[in-house]
Symmetry: C2
């Protein structure tokens, strides 16, 4: 049997567009001799449509879209994903379904059993889990069809009390097919490959695994669809971070070889590709073409500028320099040099007259009071205001330039430097920002070396350095990773060998700044614990972890 | 048997504080002769601690807190709620437990079966559901102990395939006890009473129902704990929106009477009480004492001012008037009169010099371009900046003054009038804002009548009226309620008798403005579909519902 793997960049809710794109691949597969084409989870509507699923009209339009695909399922089997109404007497109103279409008919409907509800996933919010297991006969073969998480419960102990593939294995299938919606994170790619290979070897069955690709708001999908043989060896692997199509010539007893399984987690190159795709897709799907960035001459805005230039084209990125009396001359020079290296347009808008005007307006109210963080925030918010005005007037989207370290400890001004429609590096710790900046410069100096070498500073008061307020980033980031990614309590972190006072201070800063992150821009997710939907903390919580 | 119902305002994660408060009621109950005291769901840590539950250290500290309660469970049974580690081989690592303590021992642990995962609820994110059912023997009686949602599946068809009380009923219990964490919404109170009464009469058993009270960030709990007899009649009902304690003298064959079951949904008084409690608790639990409000002379800021004055004391609320050249004289007069009626301090900060300075800074960049929404937003953001500066300098929390109608259609400026630490009326449609303002004025004119009578205007350009940009609020709010609360698609709304063009326009505005709401302040939830965690829409979604 010839099986086509179709890895597509779906747009959530764009049912017509998604179906048009799927039809292209169905026709191609048929013309190339495929017996079956496999798409990814919820391919009809894109993964994951969230509360759009609560609208009956949405489910009905998805059903119409399945009808369109059905008409194309002629002389080829088509396996798609779609939300469908449940026909059970009790339970939630929807199922997460894989639908096999053939000869313009629905041949089988299979429902997802294991509904991920953790991190960014919330599927039990919408779907009733499957409890009945049945392999599907197709072209004389027995297909064990599962959906994403269904193959993620092989390890003991499992997250779920049931393992769907154990049930299907009893019915002696010939092959496993998994429709997936599995997002990228820098430690997820290897994990996913390992788990899928383990499934193949455990059940001694080949596995067709199809994932979607592309970004939906903050969630990045790398694709990386695979065909794995029954020994657990990856035979075919589709490209990452782009659409792809592959025809697999499968017969149950064939053997394949491949030089090596190319595992490469934690790779700055992959993270880079993920973020570039994330920017490009957010702009493309939001129908924005151009970005605007507050360019401070620091490394964060420099990296965002470089990444945006790659995603959108340098000519579509405008850098706005907004020096104050505390800005060093170097900052302006460096920011201009960066824009020149990239070929982006710049504006320079001095903020001092505006800041002076604000201070004058407040002078009676603040009479006799010391200058403090208020005045620093006024500068940051003046810049935010000017950026947003430029955005409004020219139709550029503001890119936020915050990194994960400062977002974590609240070293940022709400409505000031926290402005923006998208946060491209909000899931990169400062140390990762440096690593990626060096990667950007791998062939030539794009980010001026001066930016990489100077000490980080917000430049909101004379001679300010980040290290005046925060531990050095090497140390800070290690504590943050233990607290945020690893979810260790402060005492555990101290036991891991860190200074107690520092740990307590950092953890308290993280907790106290939930309120700021609550109002932050969407952050492109590249770790397994990004701020946003993946980490849902109460704002009011008198608990020191 | 004498049973004490303890309705407490817990603070999330304040384990020591919560236990201290519980101990007070345990001692009181014992001294008043109670055999058993019942607390609400997850009482040890407060409902709902969200991703704090992911930290093992948090669960361990909860366990320590249970130990403290255990030592108090002397000569009285104590039924509490707490998260506990699961001892199952597979499944999620936690259970949502009710723990019965007696004679300083754990007598029984009962786990929640039905895990609400919809709207603001996300319990399957954390807990493994129960599948084993056992009544608990105590003092010669058989207690059917359930946790909140477990009693919400009586209706057919049910949201869940299993009904825990059906299983427990087979074991011939003498009484039902439900530990609840059931939030207020204006159509939920009657529903809850009806469902609990139906449970009592259906199983022919009395029901002790204990809910928590108080606000945790945006979620408001009304309390309203009850004792219902086996005929389904409410015998005792605890106060709403405040802590309460009641001793119920129960024997299985007693009969009770009460004049009437006082059902009063959709009552502006209850909504008012809910919001006042929400403001008070957010400030109290965040350890803020004072608020600052941008007072425009319009009805939204007037209502927020009045509510905040009630919650915090008028002297703790500062009103900042920030007129521009487009502000009418009436606006300033009305805002000052409001502050005088309430007894709040005011500042007047004219924004024109600042706005002129911004426009001057941008004059080269904007040369030759028409004035448009950019310049309106500059005014709104200038006000936001000044308010935040006042907040920073004086330590007042900014209260956002947006209502649900404008939040829905995006008739608000991000980082401008969308500023604030809390949005007290963001779940009130404009028509409800008027109704509540009239309620505020029920005894005397607090909100000047001029504010109630003038046409709504943002005053960002000459002679601007909201109705220039939006349908009249009476019409707008009806369409919004169908789209947001009722989750009807636009075609359904048109079929309900609304003009197609208007409906399409409104629905598109709601969809297009997800990105603004993503960065909005937490909104006190008083409806069953508030913006925030209860309505999770993708930002990128090419689907027109």
């Amino acid at each position: 049997m010839q099986i086509a793997l179709s890895q597509i960049n779906y747009t959530i809710g764009d049912l017509d567009g998604n179906v048009d794109r799927m039809v292209v691949d169905i026709r191609r597969a048929r013309s190339e001799g495929a017996d079956l084409i496999v798409f990814s989870e919820l391919s009809i509507c894109g993964y994951i449509p969230k509360d759009k699923l609560n609208y009956n009209s949405f489910i009905e339009r998805c059903s119409d879209a399945v009808e369109r695909i059905k008409r194309e399922a002629d002389a080829i089997g088509v396996l798609i994903g779609a939300p469908v109404f449940s026909n059970l007497k009790n339970g939630k109103r929807l199922r997460n379904a894989a639908i096999l279409l053939h000869n313009r008919e629905v041949v089988a409907e299979v429902y997802k059993t294991l509904l991920p509800t953790y991190d960014i996933f919330d599927e039990y919010r919408y779907f009733e889990p499957n409890t009945a297991f049945q392999v599907v006969e197709f072209n004389g073969k027995r297909l064990a069809i599962t959906i994403c998480e269904d193959l993620w419960n092989l390890e003991v102990p499992g997250l779920y009390p049931v393992n769907p593939m154990d049930e299907l294995a009893k019915q002696e299938p010939d092959i496993m097919i998994n429709l997936s919606g599995s997002p990228y994170s820098y430690n997820h790619v290897d994990d996913r490959k390992m788990r899928m290979c383990n499934n193949a070897s455990h059940y001694n069955l080949p596995l067709v695994y199809v994932n979607q690709v592309g970004a939906n708001t903050e969630i990045l999908f790398d694709g990386g669809s695979m065909f794995i043989d029954a020994t657990g060896t990856i035979v075919e692997e589709l490209n990452t971070f782009e659409e792809d199509f592959r025809l697999v010539d499968w017969s149950a007893n064939a053997t394949y070889t491949k030089d090596a399984n190319d595992f490469h987690d934690n790779d700055i190159e992959l993270i880079h590709d993920a973020i570039v795709m994330g920017i490009r897709d957010y702009f493309g799907k939001m129908k924005f073409r151009s970005a605007i960035i507050g360019s401070s001459g620091g490394i964060d805005s420099a990296l965002v500028h470089a990444l945006a230039a790659e995603a959108l084209g340098a000519e579509q990125v405008t850098a706005v320099l907004m020096p104050s009396k505390y800005s060093s001359e170097g900052s302006v020079v460096d920011a201009l040099k960066l824009a020149e290296n990239l070929g982006s347009k710049t504006y320079t808008l001095g903020i001092q007259p505006m800041v002076d005007s604000v201070n004058h307006t407040l002078s009676d109210a603040f009479a006799g009071m010391e200058s403090n963080v208020t005045e620093e925030n006024i500068q940051a918010r003046s810049r935010g205001l000017l950026l947003m005005a430029m955005s409004n007037k020219f139709g550029h989207m503001v890119l936020n330039t915050s990194n994960k370290s400062e977002t974590a400890v609240g070293y940022a001004t709400l409505y000031g430097d926290m402005c923006g429609g998208l946060s491209p590096i909000g899931d990169l710790y400062k140390t990762q920002v440096y690593a990626m900046s060096r990667y950007i410069n791998r062939d030539r100096e794009i980010i001026p070396i001066e930016i990489l070498e100077k000490a980080p500073s917000a430049e909101l008061r004379p001679n300010q350095k980040d290290s005046d307020s925060l531990p050095e980033y090497d140390l800070l980031d290690r504590i943050l990773a233990l607290y945020i990614e690893e979810q260790r309590g402060w005492q555990e972190i101290v036991r891991a060998g860190f200074d107690e006072e520092t740990v307590r201070r950092v953890v308290k800063l993280v907790d106290r700044n939930e309120y700021k992150r609550f109002q932050g821009a969407p952050i492109l997710r590249i770790s397994h614990r990004a701020f946003g939907a993946g980490r849902q903390m109460p704002l009011v919580a008198h608990y020191f972890n």
